[in-house]
Symmetry: C2
Subunit: 193 residues, 2 copies
């Protein structure tokens, strides 16, 4: 099946996590807003009157008859199809639980630079951003990273992967942290302390 | 099966959404931290070395051999078992997508009073809270509520429910907004504008 991924052109954001899973699996997919369809094709699905199950926001994925939104939900669906999640219910729920926790972490990282409003630029909320970032680095980052270290350590199949003995979609997000990481977007963090 | 729900005693928070689903279905469950186990029983599962799949935070649910965390994930699991979600894949993904969007909304509502840090009291971030709340009420609440109105209007089975022709777990959350609502917690909002 050829998947259609819809996400804003020009930013990585949450769409990147779906993209990484598709890329990792070598899946057949079209990155619609970055291609000939442009963002117009995406906005027609967001706003179109004929869409029965409208997304609240990108990213969303068309997979045959399905139109699926919410990053976590898309990955939950794709995981087994791409060979990036266990096939059994317990394994799928565990991978999804980790992925939702990563989503919370990413959301908190985003809000360090938008503590007052997503609709305002970072420059319009810089003092508040500095204060929130201080707390984030001091209390939240150690809590989240400590948690994922614990998950790795308790993996009965070894600490190379979060889930079982092979790569799964929550671990493609770990890759995202490294190579396209949330901290990379915000060099201001280096001097925010 | 007798479910075990684990959530902080004394607050409604995210645990309430799981509790509402269990109550709506008349499920057999124990509210462990509110019962004889107390919060100690919950903390032992959070911190216990022997827990293979540790939760990051409450709420979590024990269902036989499964220990499931993340509110959205718990409801995704419980939905079909409690008769509060469609049984087919497309319906389950749609209900989950809506529920994740509600979770985002609730998270943003929470942050109106904790824009700087969850670890700080509201009183320690009151000016920032007032500013964030202003934006939340002006831009985010209409966007979210408008979205859910659209979802209701496009439901082919009628606008009485978000998903299909009967109550599903995202709609028990609508009940939560009304009866144990996020606004009810924060009377300060009435004069924040």
């Amino acid at each position: 099946m050829r998947y259609e991924l819809y996400y804003w052109d020009g930013i990585q954001g949450r769409g990147e996590f779906v993209r990484l899973a598709l890329e990792e699996a070598g899946a057949d997919y079209v990155d619609v807003a970055r291609g000939s369809g442009g963002e117009g094709a995406m906005l027609r699905l967001l706003d179109g009157q004929e869409v029965e199950h409208p997304p609240f926001a990108p990213p969303f994925l068309r997979a045959g008859e399905l139109l699926i939104a919410q990053t976590a939900n898309i990955l939950f669906y794709l995981g087994p199809h791409l060979g990036l999640a266990p096939a059994d219910e317990a394994g799928r729920l565990w991978a999804h639980q980790l992925q939702l926790t990563i989503a919370d972490f990413v959301d908190e990282a985003h809000d360090t630079h938008h503590p007052i409003a997503s609709s305002l630029y970072y420059a319009d909320q810089r003092p508040e951003a500095k204060r929130r970032t201080g707390d984030f680095l001091k209390t939240r980052v150690p809590k989240y990273l400590g948690y994922f270290e614990k998950v790795l350590a308790r993996n009965k199949a070894g600490d190379a992967h979060l889930v079982g003995a092979k790569l799964s979609y929550p671990s493609t997000r770990r890759l995202a942290f490294n190579e396209h990481g949330i901290f990379r977007h915000y060099p201001e963090l280096d001097s925010a302390g």
